[in-house]
């Protein structure tokens, strides 16, 4: 919608019936203004409602994905019969299982040695006989020469080698000692030789060369340098904390509380989105009544609620304890999950499916609505954005016209005021003249 340009252009065009033009122009201006005000308010409300639907669809999709993850992972929880000896975590296991760590004969520790002798002045006392040294860490040798042949110089040099060890100085009453510790655990060789080309004397002790983790899993001996074990049992990660002569049981078993928790979240999100959609349907529908997104969401919610399976004990949401009351609101009875047989739980996982099948497969459907860049709701909102911007441009144009009209009225008032003042002055003159004539003609003023 647009207004015709105003035909008057300034103070010199007063020959037209300015007042009538202004009156008509203002009346015309009011019509589109009200229309645009109403339209703009509707657009804002529609955008807000769509935002709510988007959030609802995203929430439902997220809970559906969580259900799929729970089903795929069989809701497995890990446990250790002796958590103080071995701590355990499920890192992606998909089958229930039990393992026995028969014994832990050694836990992994890092090599750590000190200089055999103490040095009086760590910054001055010579450490080596020639200034030449060789550090041995595992199978790697690091040969170097010290310009500052003292404890500080040696410590700093070792720390720059990148040998996987850390050197420090221990200060005691008997003198200063060099401490060298491996950065990682495991049995190794750690030595520091003075004058490697000559006397080749090891300057550090050889009492703590590190240890490996050693244990037996279901009768199979396992030997590794770290206490974190994540490559032996698929989907199960455990950490050995101390040695043990007795067996430790590690198990992966279905935790039904994970399933009930995921289903509760799903029902909450389902009801949230259903409420938002219902508010835009029927006689009391909001501004999104008849909207494509609302229709599609409603259709997908019905598809979701009526999902059926012909396999096993779980054939519908009802079998999972999810029912719909008279108003269509979903309700969840967790006791139903607790009462399922083991086969029933397994069938529940099948019914829930994964990202491409079963109930969880609906996640992709609802993400098509809520996707923040190219989702259906985003595209709808972008269309509303364009309409809003168009309205704003028209608002600016009309505001400019109103300003022009106001300036014209102001000039008109100033001119009329000046003329009235001139006229009043003339009337005073004429009045005085007429009174003078009355005195001359009738001998009195009238």
């Amino acid at each position: 919608m647009s207004l015709s340009p105003l035909t008057f252009s300034g103070v010199s065009k007063f020959s037209q019936d300015f007042g009538t033009i202004m009156d008509r122009a203002v009346k015309i201006a009011q019509i589109p203004i009200q229309q645009m005000q109403n339209r703009d308010a509707d657009i804002l409300q529609q955008k807000s409602l769509l935002g709510g639907l988007s959030a609802g669809a995203a929430g439902l999709a997220s809970s559906l994905r969580a259900l799929g993850d729970t089903a795929t992972g069989r809701a497995l929880a890990s446990s250790s019969s002796k958590p103080a000896v071995i701590s355990v975590a499920n890192s992606g296991a998909t089958v229930a299982a039990a393992y026995t760590i028969d014994s832990v004969t050694s836990i992994a520790s890092a090599a750590s040695e000190r200089s055999v002798t103490g040095y009086t002045d760590s910054a001055a006392t010579a450490v080596g006989s020639t200034g030449d040294f060789k550090l041995v860490v595992g199978g790697a040798d690091y040969t170097f020469h010290l310009a500052n042949n003292n404890l500080v110089g040696l410590r700093d040099k070792i720390n720059t080698l990148g040998a996987g060890v850390t050197a420090s100085i221990l200060t005691t009453a008997d003198g200063n000692y060099l401490s060298v510790s491996a950065s990682s655990s495991g049995e190794t060789t750690l030595a520091l030789y003075d004058d490697p080309a000559g006397a080749n004397t090891n300057l550090i002790t050889g009492t703590n060369q590190g240890t490996d983790l050693e244990f037996s899993l279901n009768g199979i001996p396992v030997h590794q340098s770290r206490n974190l074990v994540n490559s032996v049992i698929p989907g199960l990660t455990f950490t050995v904390l101390e040695e043990s002569e007795t067996a430790v049981q590690l198990s992966l078993s279905t935790d039904r509380s994970q399933l009930t928790s995921a289903l509760s979240a799903f029902v909450a999100n389902l009801n949230s989105l259903r409420g938002s959609v219902s508010a835009q349907v029927g006689p009391a529908a909001g501004l999104l009544s008849g909207n494509f997104v609302v229709r599609q969401l409603g259709s997908q919610l019905r598809n979701l609620a009526s999902l059926r399976s012909s396999q096993g004990e779980i054939n519908s949401l009802t079998d999972l304890g999810i029912t719909f009351n008279n108003s269509g609101k979903a309700e969840f009875d967790p006791a139903k999950i607790g009462a399922l047989t083991e086969n029933g739980v397994s069938d529940a996982f099948t019914f829930l499916g994964d990202s491409s099948s079963g109930l969880s497969g609906f996640a992709k459907t609802f993400e098509q609505f809520s996707e923040p860049v190219a989702g259906l709701i985003k595209l709808e909102q972008q269309g509303l954005d364009r309409m809003d911007k168009s309205l704003q441009r028209q608002v600016e144009a009309l505001n400019e016209r109103i300003a022009v009209m106001q300036r014209g009225l102001s000039l008109k008032l100033q001119h009329a005021d000046a003329l009235l003042a001139q006229l009043e002055s003339q009337q005073n003159t004429i009045n005085a003249s007429l009174q003078g004539l009355n005195v001359v003609l009738y001998g009195k003023q009238t």
Binding site: L409, L413, L423
Partner: protein, 93 residues
């Protein structure tokens, strides 16, 4: 030299211009009226009455213009407020 009825003629023009709300024509008529008075034309009761009628019409015009201006201000203020409210809306909701 103005004719004796120059003042009456100018007053009549002023009334006509005021009725048409033609401020330029009214300005010309009042200018002619001033010249006639300065030239010594004698006023009549009719001239005086025409002046009063012109003043009355002019006051009406000022009042109408003032009202129109106020209405226009109302429209502009209300529109400006709502227009501003629609700026910066997050389309993600």
């Amino acid at each position: 030299m103005n004719t004796p009825n120059a003042l009456e003629e100018a007053s009549t023009h002023a009334v006509a211009a005021a009725q048409l709300k033609d401020l330029e024509a009214l300005a010309d008529a009042l200018e002619m009226r001033s010249h006639a008075l300065e030239a010594g034309d004698l006023p009549t009761v009719g001239v005086h009455a025409a002046g009063e009628l012109t003043a009355h019409l002019l006051r009406d015009l000022i009042r109408e213009t003032t009202i129109e201006s106020a209405r226009l201000r109302q429209v502009g203020d209300a529109f400006g407020r709502d227009a501003g409210a629609s700026i910066g809306i997050d389309s993600t909701g």
